[in-house]
Structures are given as structure tokens and as C-alpha cells.
């Protein structure tokens, strides 16, 4: 049989409408930030994409003041039915500009264009569309009549889904009547600042949304700012704990969406080919930069060899490379720092005695790339079984009985997500009931929807995003 090669199918980077510089968005205006400008880098090529102005303490004060004024004067008093229409407008504008945003996201983040185009952007629009409808229906959300907003929400988001995390934060905050000061991640600020332009196009009142680019120190200032009523953070458990400690003892409300080490449990009666696709999606989607990634594969011993063989074969066909190429399955690691972290943890897996297998796929000479990697013979005590790698590295463990699967799956301080693969309905429901995780995917993985609450147990954080449950984090209830 002849082997057909893939011809490159790159998306045009011109669609991103990339500008040489971007600026903070405060009080409805793009302003020169007082902070040291940062350079946002394309992780696939290491080229500088743009210079981004950052906010200093004075800019942050101005942003919080603008948000407070908007909360008191315009957004807070506005009827929910009017707020809703702004959110619907934003949803439509995101749809209209989705290709521009998808290409820009891929340039800035390194994720494959097929993912930013077909997954991130549709979900961003859906989040605004879904929450728009809530704005004038909060009386029916189950928190009593006329639930009140909290005020000014300080929001800090990560670099793995820059615009999607922005949507998860801003849409519910605005729907419930809060105003927002959002800090995008240091390495991926660009789409958030285009979103600021969308807010202008939507005619959103000044100060309702403020975007302040900067590094971790700016995030810390936002957390401790006395003018902020609520903090919402998505990021590492390590930083989440620092934030919880800082907020402790103040009247500020807090929701945290932190790390994970999800177990993806495959039983001997699972549809193996389907499971292989789910396992690949679970750990290699977005280069494994997913807090809910299925990074611990638990396979029933009797099918472990067969499954691993199928899995390695499938992973060998994944195409690593140019994120703008529509044929690419695995894009670039977001930063050198993250690449170093992944390498270090992978080395620890070898040092601790696990067997490493790496896809023989070609790896580009420049840019930050890490070939899909599978460790077998992993024990629960190893770092690669306990620590979040946040990269395309899968750790495979085995089990014999369902009870053992539950015990191993739950043997983690995290509790964000889990997967179950089995054809037996009663077994799936039994497992879903016992897994201590906020999201359980059965015979599927990495499904997201604004109507479905998402969030963790234990050290994966508290509070939910999405659904009726997600409104609670922005209401004084």
C-alpha cells in the first residue's frame, strides 16, 4: 500500500492581525502601562511576536477604581436584561472574529490551530452566550430571590487556554453583575487584549472589564488589593495555596481552579480502540497543558500489554510541529521554563526506574517541543505518578480489581478529573460514584461545556465554573 505523505497546510498568520505592540486596557481605554514592557514570544519559533505594556501598582489602582466606579454607577444598577444584551453582543463579536483570535492564540500559545479554531474559540463564544441568558434569570438560579453580586472581581488566569480561561472568568462575573480586573498570563497576553477591543466594539461601559498584563508580582498585588471583593484564580496548586493564605481572614471571596493528576481507568471490558483515542486525547490534547489531563493511565492488568501496544502505535502517528499547520496534532510547549520542567520530571521517571518510550516523530530544530512520551512500569511512589507534569507525558500503572482501581485513582491530594473506560454501565456508575474528582468522563475525555460545572475536590481547588453551580462564586450567597 502506498504511503501518502502530508503536504503542509498552514493557516495564514496574517489572519491574526498581529500588531507590534499591545497595551493594558483600563477604564475603557488602552493606556501606557507604567510597568516594564514584556515581549510575548511564539513558542514554536522563539521569535518575538509583540511588545506588551504591563501594569504597575498605580495602573492596578486605576483599574480597580475604574471597576469600582463601573460597579456602582453603570454595571451594578443596570437591569439584568440590559447586561444580558452586552454579553450576547460579546458572544457574537467573538464568533465574528474567531479566526483572527484562533490564529493569534496559536501564535502566542503554541497550540495547534485545529484546537484553537475548533475547540477554544467555539467554547469561548458559547460561554458568553450561555451566561448572557443568566443575567436576567438569577432569581431562578436557586440562591433565593434577587441574589446580589460581590462587586469587583480580581481574576488571574493561566497560559494553557488564554482566551477560554478569560471567558470562564469574565462571562459569569459579568452575568451576575460584577465588574472585572483580569490579569492574563505573562506568556500569553495577546488574545486578552484583543478581547478588550471586542468589549469596546460591544459598547461595554468603561471600567466593566479591565485587562492588566503583567507577571506574578502583579497578580500578588491584585490578590492583596483592598479594593477587590473577590479573587478567582486558575493555575498551580502551589500558587493557589499562597493566594488562599493571603485572602484568609479578609472578607474577600475566593474560588480556585488548581492542578490535577487525573486517573484514566481502563477496564478489561473497555472498547480498546475507542479507549486509545480517549487516552491520546486525554494526555496529548493541548500538549498536555491541561489541569484535567488524563496523566495517570490505570489499566487492568489483563489488557495492559495489548492496550500499550495499540497506544504506542497510535501515538507514533501523531504529528508534532508547526502549530499553524492544520495537520499538526501536537504543538509547541508554551515556554522554555515549562519545557525544562517537563524534561526534569521525565528524567526523574527514568531515574526512579520507570520504562520510557518516546514517539519517534521528528522534532523541529527551533522552538519548544517535547515528543509524546509514555512511561510504563510506574509505581505510585514515583514523582511522575504524583506530580503534575503539565506536558505530553503519560504514566501507566496497572490494577487487578475495581477496588484497587478506585484506591489508586484516589491516592492523590488532587481531585479534578478522572476517566473510566468500560462497556458495562453499572460498573461505570459504580466507579463514577467512588472517584473523588469534580469531573468524571466515562468512555470519553476532555469534554467541556458552559452548561456543565467544572472544578475540583481537595487540593484541586474549590468553587465551580459553568452551569448554575458556577454562578455561586460570583454571588453574595
Amino acid at each position: 500500500m502506498p504511503a501518502f505523505d502530508y503536504a503542509p497546510a498552514p493557516e495564514s498568520r496574517d489572519l491574526a492581525n498581529l500588531k507590534p505592540s499591545y497595551r493594558p486596557f483600563i477604564g475603557g481605554e488602552f493606556v501606557d502601562g507604567g510597568g516594564e514592557p514584556l515581549k510575548s514570544v511564539n513558542p514554536a519559533t522563539e521569535e518575538v511576536l509583540a511588545e506588551v505594556g504591563t501594569a504597575d501598582a498605580n495602573d492596578l489602582d486605576a483599574a480597580v477604581r475604574a471597576a469600582r466606579t463601573a460597579f456602582e454607577k453603570t454595571w451594578g444598577p443596570m437591569p439584568g436584561s440590559e447586561r444580558a444584551k452586552y454579553l450576547f453582543r460579546i458572544a457574537r463579536l467573538v464568533q465574528e472574529r474567531s479566526r483572527e483570535l484562533a490564529v493569534l492564540e496559536t501564535l502566542d500559545n503554541g497550540k495547534p490551530i485545529t484546537e484553537s479554531r475548533d475547540s477554544d474559540l467555539p467554547l469561548v463564544a458559547a460561554h458568553f452566550f450561555y451566561h448572557a441568558g443568566w443575567a436576567d434569570k438569577l432569581d431562578y438560579a436557586g440562591y433565593g430571590p434577587g441574589p446580589k453580586p460581590l462587586g469587583v472581581a480580581g481574576q488571574i488566569i493561566p497560559w494553557n487556554f488564554p482566551l477560554l480561561m478569560l471567558a470562564w472568568k469574565i462571562a459569569p462575573a459579568l452575568a451576575t453583575g460584577n465588574t472585572v480586573v483580569l490579569k492574563p498570563a505573562e506568556t500569553t497576553p495577546l488574545t486578552a487584549l484583543v478581547f478588550a477591543d471586542i468589549c469596546r466594539q460591544a459598547g461595554l461601559p468603561a471600567g466593566v472589564v479591565n485587562i492588566v498584563p503583567g507577571a506574578g508580582d502583579l497578580g500578588a498585588k491584585l490578590v492583596s488589593h483592598p479594593g477587590v471583593d473577590k479573587i478567582a484564580f486558575t493555575g498551580s496548586t502551589e500558587v493557589g495555596k499562597l493566594i488562599q493564605r493571603e485572602v484568609a481572614g479578609t472578607p474577600k471571596r475566593l474560588t480556585l481552579e488548581l492542578g490535577g493528576k487525573a486517573a484514566n481507568v481502563v477496564f478489561d471490558d473497555a472498547p480498546l480502540d475507542q479507549a486509545v483515542e480517549g487516552i491520546v486525547n486525554g494526555i496529548f490534547f493541548n500538549q498536555g497543558h491541561v489541569c484535567c489531563a488524563g496523566s495517570r493511565l490505570l489499566v487492568q492488568e489483563s489488557v495492559a500489554d495489548e492496550l500499550l501496544e495499540k497506544l504506542r502505535h497510535r501515538i507514533s502517528t501523531l504529528r508534532l510541529g508547526d502549530p499553524l499547520d492544520k495537520n499538526t496534532d501536537v504543538g509547541a510547549i508554551n515556554s522554555r521554563e515549562q519545557l525544562d520542567k517537563i524534561r526534569e520530571l521525565a528524567e526523574s521517571g527514568e531515574a526512579e526506574g520507570a520504562q520510557r518510550w518516546t514517539s519517534p516523530c521528528p522534532v523541529p530544530d527551533r522552538g519548544f517541543f517535547f515528543a509524546p512520551t509514555v512511561f510504563s512500569g510506574v509505581h505510585q511512589s514515583m514523582r511522575i505518578a504524583r506530580e503534575e507534569i503539565f506536558g505530553p507525558v503519560l504514566s501507566v500503572l496497572t490494577f487487578r480489581t475495581p477496588d484497587e482501581a478506585v484506591a489508586k485513582a484516589n491516592n492523590t491530594p488532587y481531585g479534578l478529573s478522572a476517566g473510566i473506560w468500560s462497556e458495562k454501565g453499572s460498573r461505570i456508575l459504580w466507579m463514577a460514584n467512588r472517584l473523588r474528582a469534580g469531573v468524571v468522563w466515562a468512555n470519553t475525555f476532555n469534554r467541556f461545556d458552559p452548561a456543565a460545572p467544572f472544578g475540583g475536590y481537595q487540593e484541586s481547588g474549590f468553587g465551580r465554573e459553568g452551569g448554575r453551580t458556577g454562578l455561586e462564586g460570583y454571588l453574595d450567597v
Binding site: L256, V439, A442, A451, A452, E459, T469, V477
Partner: protein, 286 residues
């Protein structure tokens, strides 16, 4: 007035369904509102906290795994047994809080009614707080509330029974298990409530009651890695406890400063805070 010498009760801790003394061997005198001696209460220690948390963790699988109907019946049974001991509780609450017989009786009545209110919630929470999620794809997605785990409760210092019931019953109704530190100066109704729990089919370890100082025991509860949530109501320094709880990402209840008015009708906020939303997805297809 009979000349008979009454049989005085030894008040001990309640851990894992048993009534042990504090492992520390410590006791402290408890007096009534006028300063008269009532009893020596066990003065619980860090190791008693440790034992109580271990008992609560062991009991969690069974209690959270029981049907909501079963939990509701067990908790209703508690109210039945409470009612039978109404006069005993009224006497203890009256002595502890310096209330007249009539007022103390009203407090006990309110506590029993509160317990009944929470008992009835066990099999409604999933309907009220859960959901079938209308996701945009061929999937069945549903969200159910599940108990957070082991809850550490620093019970109110002033309201020795109604306040205690108001913080303990919601934790048990959700399916959580609890370690409670009672009011330090008014601990006796808490131990008598433990006797009720022990004889009402509440499984051993589901509720554990320690008498002692919130200031001493609170930090151990707040930093314990096997405690999932913390109610700091009766603690003197809530901010410090909340900071200690951050190291294990505990759910810390936002509680008002000062003693709340426990006679106010509760809402379901306390229930919500002990629940985790779990979302389950499955494809639909043939």
C-alpha cells in the same frame, strides 16, 4: 426532697462511637452560670484530635455511601431520642447558659426542630443542587452534589446546644463526617448530645465530639491533611486558622464575627458549603 445521693455522670470525649477520657489525662472544671461546680470535663489534646480525625475518615465511606433515605432516617431518629431526653437537655442548657426552665426548654425545642429540618434535607439536596446539563453535543452530562469529606467544626462558645446542633446537623446531613470541638465553658450538653448520637444508629465515627479549648485544638484541625473543610465559628482567631487551612486547600466556612443568632431560621448555605459538585459525562449513541 429525697435524701438519696444522686449518681453523678463522668463526662468524657466521644470518638469513634466510644467515650474515652482524653489521652492526655487532663480535665478542667465546668461550672454553671453562677459559678457552681457541675463536672470535670475531659480536656482534649492534639492526639485526641488525631484519633477523632482518623475515626471520622474511617466512617466517611460508609456514611457518604449510605442512601440519602437511610441517612435521613438515622438523623430523624436522633431527633426522636433528643425529644425523649428533652428535660435532661433543658436542665443542662439552663445550667450552662443561665436560662430559666421555660427559656431553656424553648432552646431545646428549637434545637430538636432544627435537627428535624436538616434530617429532611438528605434526600432533597441532589434534586435541588444537582442538574442534568444541556451540553452541546451527543453526551449525557449530569451534576450531583457529593459530601466534601471530613469536616472540622469549632462549635459556638455561647449557644451550647442550639448553636451546636446548627453547625453539626448540616455537616451530617450532607454525608460528611465531623470532628467537633464543643464550647469550652459550656461543654456538657455536647457530651449528652453524643450519648444521643451513640444510641440513634449514627455509625461510629460519623460524629466525634471533643471538649476542650478551640484555641488549642483549632490549629491542629486546620492544618490536618485529612480534614477537608473547617467551620471556625467558635474559634478566637479565625484568620490564623484560615491561613493554616490554606496549606491543604480546605474549604473554610465564611462565618460572621461574633456569635450568630441561632434562633433565626437557617437557609441551605451551610449544606452547600459541605458539598462538591461532581459532573459526569457519557456519550450517547448506538
Amino acid at each position: 426532697m429525697s435524701d438519696r445521693v444522686t449518681v453523678a455522670k463522668t463526662y468524657k470525649l466521644f470518638i469513634g462511637g466510644k467515650f474515652p477520657r482524653s489521652e492526655s489525662g487532663r480535665v478542667y472544671p465546668v461550672t454553671d452560670a453562677k459559678g457552681g461546680f457541675l463536672a470535670n470535663a475531659a480536656h482534649a489534646s492534639r492526639k485526641d484530635v488525631r484519633d477523632a480525625v482518623a475515626a471520622a475518615r474511617t466512617a466517611f465511606a460508609g456514611w457518604s455511601g449510605a442512601t440519602a433515605y437511610n441517612r435521613g432516617q438515622v438523623l430523624y431518629r436522633v431527633a426522636e431520642v433528643l425529644e425523649g431526653r428533652r428535660d435532661q437537655f433543658a436542665a443542662e442548657v439552663g445550667a450552662a447558659e443561665g436560662l430559666s426552665e421555660r427559656k431553656a426548654g424553648a432552646v431545646v425545642d428549637a434545637a430538636i426542630d432544627r435537627w428535624v429540618w436538616y434530617a429532611g434535607w438528605t434526600d432533597k439536596l441532589a434534586s435541588v443542587l444537582g442538574a442534568a446539563n444541556p451540553v452541546a453535543g451527543p453526551y449525557f452530562s449530569f451534576t450531583v452534589p457529593e459530601p466534601t469529606g471530613v469536616v472540622g467544626i469549632l462549635a459556638p462558645q455561647e449557644s451550647s446546644l442550639l448553636g451546636l446542633v446548627s453547625v453539626l446537623a448540616p455537616a451530617l446531613a450532607t454525608g460528611c463526617t465531623a470532628v467537633v470541638v464543643s464550647s469550652a465553658e459550656r461543654p456538657l450538653p455536647a457530651i449528652t448530645l453524643s450519648e444521643v448520637l451513640a444510641t440513634s444508629d449514627v455509625p461510629a465515627g460519623v460524629a466525634n465530639v471533643l471538649t476542650g479549648r478551640a484555641a488549642e485544638l483549632g490549629p491542629w484541625l486546620a492544618s490536618h491533611a485529612d480534614v477537608n473543610a473547617l467551620d471556625p465559628t467558635g474559634a478566637p482567631d479565625r484568620a490564623e486558622l484560615a491561613r493554616a487551612a490554606a496549606d491543604t486547600v480546605k474549604r473554610v466556612l465564611p462565618v460572621p464575627t461574633g456569635e450568630p443568632d441561632w434562633t433565626q431560621r437557617p437557609d441551605i448555605a451551610r449544606l452547600r458549603r459541605y458539598l462538591e459538585a461532581k459532573t459526569v459525562w457519557h456519550p450517547m449513541g448506538v
